[in-house]
């Protein structure tokens, strides 16, 4: 057994999730939060196009015939998640650039009238979330379609969606807390932190359900999940994902929400916990990609 899809694919899976998650964060804070959440909404929009663009570049590098990539857009293969996924990420990336433009400070908006742009911003914010959910979850379907025991897990698209939302929110928290310009207010960070804590809890539950279902499934599937919980991927799973990526940031966020930290420590804790969520999210993609290929049917 060798690895066909390596780190480049992991990077793509991670960055696409971060972009989709940051986009949804921006859309929802705009639609539901309005002016009070302007800073996190803006940062979500400003971040969103970049991780996925980087991921797409990396994806191109992974192709055996990169100059043939346009073939993806000459057809729609309805049975191939990669085919409809490619169309989804194409439209998502284009729209995310348009959306970014709509969030630029007024003096940088050369084209368009301020009022019309504001309207378009809200219109796009209502459409893009659907596309974002597609971008965040189709990668799970993509792995589902490849007949491998670990990837047969039906909860994989849900895991990827929740992980994408969680890392997206974390990316927005991280950037809007660390920046000197347009730094998020405490109220904004408080809400996002609450959402992120909920998402982490949900992700823990999905992981648990996946493992229980997997371990109760056929021998090959049980062995595949075994490689994660006590086999060669145990360190990554328990320490890097469950420990540093889920439990530690959840505890930090929980204590922060209960105001256990002095004011001086609030910002560093916010930045630290959101970084850990991103760190853990990367290894979720890593472990699924690698363990999925190193385990097989027997």
């Amino acid at each position: 057994m060798e690895i066909t899809w390596g780190l480049l694919i992991v990077i793509y899976l991670f960055t696409a999730g971060v972009s989709a998650g940051a986009m949804i964060t921006s859309n929802l804070t705009l639609l539901l939060g309005g002016k009070d959440f302007e800073r996190v909404g803006r940062w979500g929009a400003l971040i969103s196009p970049f991780p996925i663009s980087f991921g797409l570049g990396v994806l191109l590098l992974d192709l055996g015939s990169p100059f043939n990539f346009y073939r993806l857009f000459m057809t729609l293969q309805v049975r191939s998640p990669m085919s409809y996924g490619s169309w989804a990420i194409l439209f998502f990336t284009l729209l995310s650039v348009v959306y970014l433009y709509l969030w630029l400070p007024q003096k940088l908006q050369i084209v368009g009238e301020a009022k019309a742009l504001e309207q378009w911003k809200r219109r796009l914010a209502k459409i893009i979330p659907f596309l974002s959910v597609g971008v965040a979850s189709y990668t799970g379907l993509l792995l589902n379609a490849a007949a491998r025991p670990l990837w047969a897990a039906p909860l994989l698209p849900v895991l990827f969606l929740v992980s994408a939302l969680s890392t997206g929110v974390a990316a927005v928290i991280f950037v809007s807390a660390i920046t000197p310009w347009q730094r998020a207010r405490q109220g904004e960070l408080h809400l996002l932190t609450k959402v992120d804590a909920l998402l982490i809890a949900l992700e823990c539950f999905i992981l648990l359900a996946m493992i229980v279902m997997g371990r109760l499934s056929s021998l090959s599937v049980a062995a595949a999940f075994g490689s994660m919980i006590y086999g060669q991927f145990a360190f990554i799973f328990w320490i890097l994902i469950v420990g540093l990526g889920l439990l530690v940031p959840f505890s930090l966020e929980y204590m922060e929400l209960k105001e256990k930290f002095s004011v001086r420590w609030t910002l560093p804790v916010t930045i630290g916990s959101s970084f850990l969520v991103l760190f853990g999210g990367f290894f979720v993609r890593y472990i699924i990609t690698y363990a999925g290929q190193l385990t097989r049917w027997f």
Partner: protein, 191 residues
């Protein structure tokens, strides 16, 4: 009835000479380090003096429901009307999705072409009325290929006469290589 091309492999007749792998490489210019077919060993089983080792040759199973074909984003991976699974190189972008999707690991990324590569049933030989190179060269007559749906073919006759098994049927791919483990003293005449 429609043509359904497939293989019958008699494990009891395989001596692990690997001539099928050499013949395939020579016929199809398979790059060194990669292979379109293989011979797997069971390892030594039992205890001295009652020991045995079984060899199981294989290649693309030309499945009834090939996951490599359904996952292909550009339509490069195809199943022909006669059941043979091929890659149309001009459409292949080298995304390697089909390689990960194959539960038999029958495909590889060709480092020279950048495309997915696999057993083609030696189409170029088939068109001339010849058997695939691996079948032609097999000195133990372990490998057989032909139309599984044609009762006059060697493969259909073998399956009719001996119990056979397929690999990973529960994955749902419908593989078209039938393995016969029993001793087959004589190979029937046929197409």
């Amino acid at each position: 009835m429609t043509v359904r091309m497939g293989f019958v492999i008699i494990t009891s007749r395989c001596i692990d000479c690997d001539a099928c792998m050499v013949a395939c490489r020579a016929e199809n210019d398979v790059p060194i380090g990669k292979t379109r077919n293989w011979v797997k060993s069971s390892g030594v089983q039992g205890e001295f003096p009652k020991v045995k080792e079984v060899f199981q040759p294989g290649n693309c199973m030309h499945c009834e429901h090939p996951p490599c074909v359904s996952v292909c984003p550009t339509g490069a991976s195809q199943k022909r009307a006669d059941g043979i699974v091929i890659v149309e190189n001009s459409k292949c972008i080298g995304c390697k999705y089909c390689i990960t999707a194959c539960p038999y690991d029958a495909r590889f990324a060709n480092p020279e072409t950048g495309k997915a590569d696999k057993c083609t049933f030696c189409l170029q030989r088939l068109e001339q009325g010849l058997k695939p190179a691996c079948v032609q060269t097999c000195l133990g007559k372990s490998r057989h290929a032909g139309d599984l749906n044609d009762p006059e073919s060697v493969v259909a006759k073998l399956i009719a006469k001996y119990p056979s098994r397929q690999l990973l049927t529960y994955v749902g791919t419908g593989p078209n290589i039938y393995y016969i483990d029993e001793v087959v003293p004589e190979i029937p005449e046929g197409k």
